[in-house]
Amino acid sequence: MSSPLALGPARPVPLSAVNPVAQLTAIVVVTVVLLVSGDLVTPAVLLAAELALLPAAGLTRPGDVLRRTWPLLLSAAGVAWVNVAFGSLSGAAAWASGATWALRVVALSLPGILLVASTDPVRLADALTLHWRVSTRFGYGALAGLRLVPLLAAEFETIRLARRARGVDAGINPVAHARLLASTSFALLVGAIRRGTRLATAMDARGFDSGTARTNARGSQLRPLDTGFVAAAVLVCAAAVTVSVLTGRWDPALG
């Protein structure tokens, strides 16, 4: 059974050649600049650069892009609307403020979407544990746990059906619905804990986190390309700020 939640190997795309920790570093740089800037020009320039990377992340068809970004676009629209409708400004100024906020939200989130679209979960865990010394217990434990998510979704459905088979359904009463959901979730939680315990035992049996220094079969290399990627991110940020200052729009949010 294929579930949209299933954790599978990611299809390699050009951007996959960049090490996940280099991508994360670039994300930190972009995020800091976006949080500091308060104008419309800076996020616009950064967003243009991010959009230019979409094809490298394998997101060439508009349908694919929309499928990954619709929650983000929706929240950006929501933020803009709140600003226009309830902000202290009015008229053109309100619209400009709304647009700035929407651009910032999109420009802040898009790098994360690029990372997810281009990065295999195992490579991410490898890179985090090898380069950033993230604990292996956390890195690979999280990976193993994520494998169980689609199983939980299937189990939730089974428990719901099993309850209907016992003559329990909520009908049209919303209170009964909430109570049924609560008791189904509890049954699911009990099952999840049992399965998690079994998984932990199996990982123990395979010597996980036993005190021996762990090796990594796949490795994770940092190459000149990764340095270049981070440098490019810094350059684009500098360019964005420069354009903003030169056009007289620079408006630091802090200070």
């Binding site: 059974m1 599978g8 494998r147 016992r166 395979r206 079969a217």
Partner: protein, 458 residues
């Protein structure tokens, strides 16, 4: 790697929360390279013993007695010499690619990366896994997953291989694949093998001897040529086919977002007085068919219709079963799921039955008849596997439905509880009722079925 020696003298273990010993007075010596099947009824402590051998019993979880050694040392100090395979493949796989998962154990023991991939390939080859290192683990069948788990255990070349009911969750084809892989892996006798299972017949050709743990403590050794006694089969009455209660007409099911059908269009008729067994390998949609017939899911093609005998008393008898109210459904079609605990709703066996039966008198009667009276006050979740199964059948019977749908009713049962359950189901076969059994278990089909529907792979 050289095979390991195992020795137990007067060994026992008592869980911290229990008064009774889980297992006690076990004397056992397994020579290097030997293959031993450890069997015994549910609750005889087989799995506890296996965990102790693997060094996985937390000393704070209870009190041990006697002595247990692997290669002359306590198992804690021999963890790297031991490979273990448990029952459920999904809670043993860690990584998302087959090769990475086999490599996982080697990485944990600090194997230099250059040596890992040759060892991974050798282990995959040893279990006959030929789908490649990059295959997604989520896309594998149960038998393939379990062979991969076995490869992961073998990759570090253990001196002792421990298997805890490794085929219990697989269909017969997958189980046979796993046993073949085990045989291949230990053929050179460079690892000692201890298998825990209550399915004795399947392992007999692979093992040198059988040791049975007795429920009260101690063991019995069975010599070569020993066969377990055949199960007691119930005497049952044949009924002529009565009125049609439920029918599936070209009913099929496709999971949302999936390209291929989970169940191809299928015709089924359930008649009063008859028992239909639905068989076939995993992935053919047997359990899905059970859900359609049970009125729990709507078919995505075709339809499921109930006969007049079943719809009598319904306000809208023209509606298909999946649109009935749950309260109406449970009076007419009883369903028993593969995992009994999914169906339990209360904290006491007595309440569980009273919920369906409506009257306490009928609940008492059911408990008496199904041998649950002594457990009336117990929490359903604390019962043994066999007791839980009896209770789940009892809850389905409590409303006296005319159709009973059971998904893998004998799953996880030992010989004793299997025979009890089959006898119980035989008692439910009367002239008014139709049974539908979805099962891998050929023994159940022989014992109970009037008709057999074998689903095939698409």
């Amino acid at each position: 790697m050289t095979p390991a020696a195992v020795r137990l003298t007067g060994w026992g273990f008592r869980h911290a929360t229990r008064r009774a010993w889980a297992v006690r007075d076990v004397d056992l010596a397994v020579a290097p390279g030997e293959r031993v099947l450890l069997t015994g009824a549910s609750g005889s402590g087989k799995s506890t013993l296996l965990r102790a051998l693997a060094g996985l019993l937390d000393p704070e979880a209870g009190d041990p007695a006697g002595k247990l050694t692997v290669d002359g040392a306590v198992p804690d100090r021999r963890r790297q010499r031991v490979g273990v395979v448990f029952q459920d493949p999904d809670s043993q796989l860690v990584m998302i690619r087959a090769g990475d998962d086999v490599a996982f154990g080697l990485e944990n023991t600090g194997t230099p990366p250059a040596l890992i991939w040759p060892a991974v390939d050798a282990a995959l080859d040893a279990v006959g896994f030929d789908l490649g290192r990059d295959r997604a683990t989520a896309a594998l069948s149960g038998g393939q997953k379990q062979r991969l788990v076995l490869a992961g255990a073998l990759a570090a070349r253990p001196g002792l291989l421990l298997l805890d009911e490794p085929t219990a969750q697989l269909d017969p084809g997958g189980a046979a694949q796993v046993r073949t892989a085990v045989l291949r892996a230990v053929d050179a006798r460079d690892a000692t093998l201890v298998v825990v299972d209550h399915d004795v017949e399947s392992w007999l050709p692979l093992v040198d001897r059988v040791v049975e743990l007795l429920p009260g403590g101690g063991t019995v050794e069975h010599g070569p040529g020993w066969r377990p006694a055949p199960p007691r089969l119930p005497v049952r009455q044949q009924h002529s086919p009565g009125e049609q209660l439920l029918a599936a007409e070209a009913a099929g099911y496709t999971h949302r977002g999936s390209g291929s059908a989970g169940l191809r269009p299928t015709d089924v008729v359930l008649r009063a007085g008859r028992t239909l067994a639905v068989t076939g390998p995993n992935g053919t949609g047997k359990s899905t068919l059970a859900l359609l017939l049970a009125g729990l899911r709507a078919p995505t093609t075709g339809r499921v219709t109930a006969g007049p005998a079943l719809t009598a008393g319904l306000r809208r008898p023209e509606r298909p079963p999946h649109r009935w109210r749950a309260a109406d459904l449970v009076q007419r079609i009883g369903t028993v799921f593969q995992q009994p605990e999914h169906q339990f709703l209360t904290g006491r066996v007595r309440d569980e039955l009273a919920l369906g039966a409506g009257s306490t008198r009928r609940a008492e009667e059911l408990m008496e008849r199904l041998g649950l009276a002594a457990l009336a006050e117990a929490n359903p979740f604390t019962l043994s596997g066999g007791q839980q199964r009896r209770l789940s059948v009892a809850t389905a019977l409590a409303t006296a439905p005319r159709v009973l749908v059971l998904d893998e009713p004998t799953f996880g049962q030992d010989r004793e509880t299997w025979a009890e359950l089959v006898a119980l189901l035989a008692e439910q076969q009367d002239g008014d009722r139709a049974l539908c059994l979805v099962t891998h278990d050929a023994g159940v089909v022989t014992a109970l079925a009037d008709d057999v529907l074998a689903l095939g792979v698409a």
